[in-house]
């Protein structure tokens, strides 16, 4: 991890993203997120939340602007450094992205294998993190043998197993029941309390309203609200 003492974990300066087909997903976004913050990204379907997330791990390139994540200059970094940027993050993808040919255990362990952790540590960490998300007894299953929510929890386990300094979660509770969602939020809160920055795109009004954390609202690719401790913001 580069410059771990940097105070700004994420720094976006007039970032825009226009997809190949002309869809404008982000439009001149300026955002700074500091170490240790817990930030909700809210916004209606297609507002640009996932685009925001994808920029952070350089899954996609910003069309214009300047972006710093964990000290990496995302736009200008050489390709061979991308893996190191990604290792400094824990990402929960909206579509999970589990390896279909690997079991639950192997999927979570994979995140540790890429950083060449010792086998013993892998065994210990994976088991404990599977415990945390309540999937210890499913460790041998393949993703196709899991329910939607179980898959989502494997994705969560993989994202947190390496204790990254920044966790980026795209809709991590979309397929979880309220009870399990709260368990996950509990975990996030504890991780956050230990100093980890958390950025979470979500639709869950109840969670956002209850937690009273910083809220970034995106609409049509623009930041329309940035409250230090706010609610979901739409009345229905």
């Amino acid at each position: 991890m580069k410059s771990p003492t940097e105070i700004n974990v994420i720094k976006m300066k007039s970032i825009s993203k226009v997809y190949d087909n002309g869809a404008v997903a982000l439009d001149n976004v300026d955002i700074t997120i500091r170490r240790g913050e817990f930030v909700f990204i809210v916004g209606s379907s297609g507002a640009g939340k996932s685009t925001f997330v994808k920029l952070l791990l350089r899954e996609i390139m910003p069309t214009s602007g300047h972006l710093l994540v964990n000290g990496y200059n995302v736009k200008k970094m050489p390709n061979r450094e991308i893996p190191y940027l990604r290792r400094s993050l824990g990402v929960i993808f909206q579509d999970y992205r589990l390896l279909p040919n690997k079991t639950v255990y192997e999927n979570v362990a994979f995140a540790m294998r890429v950083i060449e952790s010792p086998r013993r540590l892998i065994l210990r960490s994976v088991n404990s993190v599977l415990d945390v998300v309540g999937l210890r007894d499913k460790y041998k299953c393949f993703p196709s043998q899991l329910s939607g929510g179980e898959q989502q929890r494997v994705a969560i386990a993989r994202a947190i197993v390496n204790n990254p300094a920044l966790i980026i979660a795209d809709e991590p509770t979309g397929n979880l029941d309220p009870e399990t969602s709260w368990e996950i939020m509990d975990i996030f809160q504890r991780i956050n309390a230990a100093g980890t920055t958390i950025v979470m795109a979500t639709h869950d009004k109840m969670i956002v309203d209850t937690m009273q954390k910083r809220v970034l609202a995106i609409e049509d690719g623009r930041i329309v609200r940035d409250e230090a401790s706010g609610g979901y913001g739409y009345e229905v």
Partner: protein, 295 residues
């Protein structure tokens, strides 16, 4: 790369071969068949080339001697021929030997010789062969000027036809081998590309969770090596069996048709085929995943 990672890669390959088992089998099958075809024609072409060389090396020049030269002169001539550059063998054929051979060659028309009334109009001769058949022409010209030599002849049109034939055989053989090698590379790497394509999402996911290109590439490369090695081995075994069966069959049917002896020929073929399998498998994998790594 740490040791535990190497260990992990090896386990990965084993697991992957097992979990993608029918794709692995499909790849091995394709490698086997392609390399078998390649190897088969390699063997055929090498044999044809050998045969062509044998034919060429059998082209002789008959050096007919003047009737009046002495034994010493003959001996001196033999020395001279032997010391000539590019000469392979030198054989003395007395006029009696020549007549015997001639009568044999006449076969059922042997009775013609009775008309000769026991006279032998054939000359003494040396039969010489040259190392490089292209030398036949110049050599025979040169020899004709030696003392004691009457004429030096060779089967001009046959030799020229022969050269045409062997050149054609070599040309077509080479073309076929080059083409088949290209086809083998195409088909094997194409198959590998399709199996990699079926796993493109996996590759992308690995990159998204921070794997380096080489971390992803190694297991694929090793898998390619294993597939190539297995396919190459099966092909090599089949080729050995085929060649042995063929040699036997041909030997049974027509003894005058000599194939290259089994060893070390088969050893070379085996090495070439297995190495090809490994190299094509490894390169095929590495090249195929290249475009899927760019995420």
């Amino acid at each position: 790369m740490k040791f535990r990672t190497t260990e992990y890669f090896i386990k990965e390959v084993a697991t992957s071969l097992k979990r993608n088992n029918w794709m692995s089998l499909a790849s091995i099958g394709t490698v086997t068949i392609s390399l078998f075809i390649l190897g088969l024609f390699l063997m055929v072409v090498v044999n044809l080339d050998r045969m062509a060389s044998t034919l060429e090396s059998q082209v002789q020049i008959s050096v007919y001697l003047k009737d009046d030269i002495t034994k010493e002169q003959t001996e001196a001539l033999r020395q001279k021929l032997n010391s000539l550059q590019g000469i392979d063998t030198v054989n003395y054929i007395s006029k009696e030997d020549a007549m015997k051979r001639f009568s044999e060659r006449l076969g059922d028309q042997k009775y013609l010789l009775s008309a000769l009334d026991e006279t032998n109009p054939l000359p003494n001769a040396f039969e010489i062969t040259v190392k490089d058949p292209q030398l036949v022409k110049t050599a025979s010209k040169e020899v004709e000027n030696f003392p004691g030599v009457d004429t030096a002849v060779y089967a001009q049109d046959i030799v020229e036809h022969l050269f045409d034939l062997t050149r054609l055989i070599r040309l077509i053989g080479l073309a076929i081998i080059i083409f088949l090698a290209g086809a083998t590379i195409f088909i094997i790497s194409n198959t590998i590309r399709l199996t990699v394509f079926a796993r493109r999402k996996e590759i992308a996911i690995m990159k998204y969770v921070g794997a380096t290109d080489w971390f992803i590439r190694w297991p694929f490369l090793l898998e390619g090596v294993v597939l190539g090695f297995l396919g190459g081995n099966i092909a090599a075994i089949l080729l050995r069996l085929a060649y042995m069966a063929l040699t036997q069959k041909i030997y049974d049917m027509m003894t005058f048709f000599p194939l290259i002896p089994l060893y070390p020929f088969l050893t070379y073929i085996t090495i070439i085929i297995i190495l090809s399998g490994i190299v094509i498998g490894a390169l095929g994998s590495v090249i195929s995943i290249k475009r899927f790594l760019e995420v």
